[in-house]
Symmetry: C2
Subunit: 112 residues, 2 copies
């Protein structure tokens, strides 16, 4: 509950979901790149990114004077596991099992 909260809050804002969309389209963008075309100041975008970082949805890496942002899909998957798959039992139980079997071989990341 405590950890999900940051993710749900982060996803609650349309601008932040838009930022995630942009990163999903092209990962590793700088703050400046992420600002382009948005009707918002750079500082506002930076605040949104900070909230996404707090929710662990975005990580970054400094390169010179630039800050490269990377998306992290794990928290959303975790939430989906706890919320969507439970939502209508038991039809999706079989699905969850299948999902694990599908994702298991050769995958190293988001399945704990």
């Amino acid at each position: 509950m405590t950890d999900d909260d940051a993710v749900f809050r982060a996803l609650a804002d349309g601008s932040r979901r838009q930022l995630l969309d942009r990163l999903r389209a092209r990962d590793g963008q700088t703050l400046g790149q992420l600002c382009q075309g948005l009707a918002m100041t750079r500082q506002a975008v930076a605040k949104h990114l900070a909230i996404l970082e707090e929710a662990n949805l975005v990580a970054w890496h400094r390169q010179g004077r630039e800050k490269l942002h990377f998306i992290n899909p794990v928290p959303i998957h975790q939430i989906a596991r706890r919320w969507v798959t439970q939502f209508d039992q038991p039809r999706l139980d079989a699905l969850a099992a299948l999902k694990e079997r599908l994702e298991a071989p050769g995958t190293t990341d988001d399945i704990e």
Copy 2:
């Protein structure tokens, strides 16, 4: 964006997620029942339920002087479809296809 927004906003609050949890545990509860044990006035709970209604996550039906609340899993599924399954392509594409076959009417447990 416009329709998802209400759902994301509704899910952003912990009290509202708790209400959904309660309805998931037992569907069709009255306002009074949903208030029990919560550290919040009835009016506050009613406001939360109104927000869940706006997001189409909860529907209700009047029975005498009582208001029975029912959960609707569809919006969360829609969001999951648009967000989770897109999040790491293409590994989950096969999963989405399977999901549709699983969820198609008439299919129960016949996959294994």
